[in-house]
């Protein structure tokens, strides 16, 4: 649900005892009654009001609300008002315009990979690491690959809450029947592309749909990009998008990665032409053996009751890689931020990070290492089975037009769709993509 494009706006506001007291105080003042003994305690309890914008709907939204409620129940906490907007472009355009119009919320969620493109517009303020330290959050609490994304040109612009990689789900019943589970009930390791293909074919043999692998790509540029970039980087490919230059990449590796994916969606190992919804429902109903997708589908599969486990996409060309992005907290630019509110926002983030075990339940890997190292997390299944991904994360190459829900993956889908549909030659499709991106690079960043 989270990654669908359904627009949703919802306001959630907590009316607690404190707010009620303040209300009563207000009525009292209006009535001309001098505040008496309660005055002092009332003013000290008159918490800051924090506005918080994010794009977490569905189960993620529920989890976030729970975390915020917990935070607000702590001593001296601020009151948080959430505004939830539709995932992707609708959210980002509104956030940018609100910030440009001087009506920015006190705190917002962004995808880490979008921050480098967004920051030069002056729309973000930096976090105060010292202040975070007061609340017990330090640099060494984050994995290196994630911290790299949190700093942009030396400034700490976003605090990652999680990473949500692209992984492999597998149906344990089907895998068992196909004889591809080890004695611990985990998917057998695969070392080479041939191994992996054999495994997929074994799964196909045992799967009711006849497809070992489900992968929804039709009309979904984002998912096509996740799959491509996972294998492209696994094969050792790199990509750079220098402004004013041209896309830097390895053509041979790109074509190999495309050919490899085509060999998986050949109608034998995997489905040939599923869209996202079809692939999800195929796996959710126990039709297919395995499913390529983001960790956030955990909730829906659990609800469907399909027996499944998860693993990183196996590294059959080299060390595994996990294409990912992170939900992270940002401080939208304010011309004269109120120090007390800023302080409260830092406290809020620290609280949510430390309690992000709840967040892990929805599939995301918490960015805050102490939570991941906690035995409670290690007991979570299947979450702990792909937690190693934090050492193998790859994010979108930085540019002003990349990151989750940006035009970059839309253009990838636009130009590559016909390649996956086997209507266009891989090189031709790839060159069209490169051409599109070079057009964008030729123009200066608008921010």
């Amino acid at each position: 649900m989270k990654h669908s494009s359904i627009f949703s706006t919802a306001m959630h506001r907590r009316l607690d005892r404190r707010a009620l007291l303040r209300g009563v105080g207000g009525v009292g003042a209006a009535g001309g009654i001098a505040a008496l003994a309660g005055c002092g305690s009332l003013s000290s309890a008159s918490a800051e009001e924090i506005s918080f914008w994010h794009l977490l709907s569905g189960p993620d939204g529920v989890t976030m609300s729970g975390l915020l409620d917990e935070y607000m129940a702590t001593d001296g906490a601020a009151d948080v008002t959430q505004t939830v907007l539709g995932w992707g472009a609708p959210y980002y355009t509104k956030l940018a315009m609100a910030s440009a119009g001087g009506r920015a919320p006190d705190i917002a969620v962004m995808h880490s990979a979008r921050v480098p493109g967004y920051a030069p517009g002056g729309l973000l303020d930096a976090w105060d690491l010292d202040l975070l330290g007061e609340f017990g959050i330090r640099q060494e609490d984050f994995p290196e690959l994630i911290w790299d994304k949190m700093e942009v040109e030396g400034e700490l612009l976003n605090i990652a809450l999680d990473s949500h990689p692209f992984v492999l789900y597998y149906n344990t019943d089907i895998a068992d029947e196909a004889g591809v589970l080890d004695s611990d009930g985990l998917l057998l390791p695969t070392e080479t592309p041939e191994d992996f293909r054999d495994l997929a074919l074994e799964l196909s043999g045992a799967a009711p749909s006849g497809y070992g692998l489900s992968f929804g790509w039709l009309g979904d540029g984002m998912n096509q990009w996740r799959m491509f970039y996972t294998y492209y980087t696994q094969m050792g490919g790199t990509m750079e998008l220098p402004e004013g230059g041209t896309m830097q990449y390895q053509e041979e590796i790109a074509i190999d990665a495309i050919e490899w994916i085509l060999s998986l969606i050949d109608g034998e190992a995997g489905n040939p032409s599923h869209d996202g919804g079809t692939a999800i429902s195929e796996f959710a109903t126990g039709g297919s053996g395995a499913f390529f997708g983001g960790v956030w589908e955990i909730g829906s599969y659990r609800d469907e009751g399909v027996p499944f486990d998860m693993t990183m996409v196996p590294g059959v060309f080299g060390p595994p890689t996990a294409y990912a992005d992170s939900h992270s907290f940002v401080l939208p630019f304010q011309s004269s931020p109120d120090p007390e509110r800023r302080r409260a926002v830092h406290a809020l983030v620290a609280h949510v990070l430390k309690h992000s075990l709840a967040w892990a339940d929805a599939g995301h890997i918490p960015a805050y290492t102490p939570v991941v190292e906690d035995p409670a997390y290690q007991e979570l299944e299947p979450q702990s089975h792909y937690a190693d991904a934090i050492d193998h994360l790859v994010y979108d190459p930085p540019a002003w037009f990349t990151g989750s829900g940006s035009d970059f993956s839309t253009y990838f889908g636009n130009t590559m769709q016909n390649v996956w549909a086997r209507r266009t030659d891989p090189l031709e499709g790839w060159n069209a993509f490169v051409g599109r991106i070079d057009d964008l690079l030729a123009k200066p960043s608008p921010m």
Binding site: S5, G121, G122, G219, D407, T410, Q417, N418, P446
Partner: protein, 317 residues
């Protein structure tokens, strides 16, 4: 003769009092004018605030490099326009918009006419037909789009399931470059034909019965009456429907944004979606404004075309 009579026939007997009454009339008219403007004021304020001013401001923005973040607001002259004219995506999306307009306007006029004539023949249960043809028009674009996204779904959709009963493997309607635009057009016809249908039905019901009676007496059959009376009588409505339809089709955005997001490969991306991409997800408001103005110019030409045609018609009649 009373004064009222005099007012009714100004050239008649009221002449002696002309000086006084015309002065009075002028004063009254001025008071009326003032009152008229006062009544219009709320509308005028909204009109200036939400249409005139944005139009002027948008034009100014098109001459700057303004970003969504409100930065880079410097004047760049006609640079944005020059870029737009050499931007292949402007042309391809403009072509898509025109193609969509051609593909959709024709069936939206013809189907509406056929439906209206059929209903007007006097089929039993007229209210039912009227309701079912008009009802889709009342749906929000999101709802109508979702209906069709699911109907078009290659694996689970209604259309391919039905085709499957006959052993036919249906295509991926919205993802096949050759079919995507047609599929969107079919959905659009279903969704919006009700409005034109209603215009036609009203026009049909306004054709005087005596024309048909006279024709019947002269021995004209059903077909003859349709060709010689109904269609000519509907001509003004057809011009209206066609122009309204063209303007509506040129503005296509909602259903395409929701059904294909402009894909596959940009084959269904209309100009307004490109404006949205450039301006909002691409942060380039200035450039997006310039493209909008080029498109605005195109719409003005279509509107002037309509005014010329309709004024000629009124002169003729």
């Amino acid at each position: 003769m009373t004064t009222t009579d005099g007012l009714a026939t100004p050239s008649g007997t009221a002449r002696p009092a002309a000086g006084v009454s015309s002065e009075l009339r002028r004063r009254r008219r001025r008071a009326d004018n003032l009152r008229g403007w006062l009544y219009c004021l709320p509308f005028l304020a909204a009109f200036v605030l939400f249409l005139i001013w944005p139009t002027i401001y948008g034009f100014w923005m098109s001459l700057t490099g303004t970003s969504l973040a409100g930065t880079k607001t410097g004047f760049v002259g006609l640079e944005n326009y020059a870029e737009a004219f050499s931007d292949p995506y402007v042309w391809s999306s403009l072509l898509n918009t025109v193609w969509f307009t051609v593909l959709s306007a024709v069936p939206l006029v013809i189907v509406a006419l056929v439906l209206a004539v059929l209903v007007n023949i006097g089929l039993p249960g007229q209210w039912f037909w009227r309701l079912s043809f008009f009802m889709p028009f009342l749906l929000a674009s999101t709802v109508a789009s979702q209906f069709w996204v699911w109907m078009y779904n290659p694996q689970l959709g209604l259309i391919n399931t039905v085709l499957g009963w006959f052993g036919i493997t249906g295509p991926a309607w919205l993802q096949d470059p050759n079919l995507a635009m047609i599929s969107v057009v079919v959905m659009t016809v279903w969704w919006t034909v009700g409005f034109n249908f209603l215009l036609y039905l009203t026009a049909l019901q306004n054709i005087p019965d005596h024309l048909y009676e006279a024709a019947s007496l002269d021995g004209a059959g059903r077909w003859r009456r349709l060709i010689s009376i109904t269609l000519p009588q509907l001509a003004p409505t057809t011009v209206l429907v066609l122009v309204l339809q063209m303007l509506a089709s040129l503005k296509v955005f909602d259903q395409i944004y929701q059904m294909t997001a402009g894909g596959p490969g940009g084959d269904t991306r209309p100009i307004l979606l490109y404006v949205y991409e450039v301006g909002f997800t691409g942060y380039r408001l200035g450039y997006a404004s310039a493209i909008s103005y080029i498109f605005f110019f195109l719409i003005i030409i279509v509107s002037i075309g309509y005014m010329v045609i309709s004024s000629r018609r009124s002169v003729k009649s």
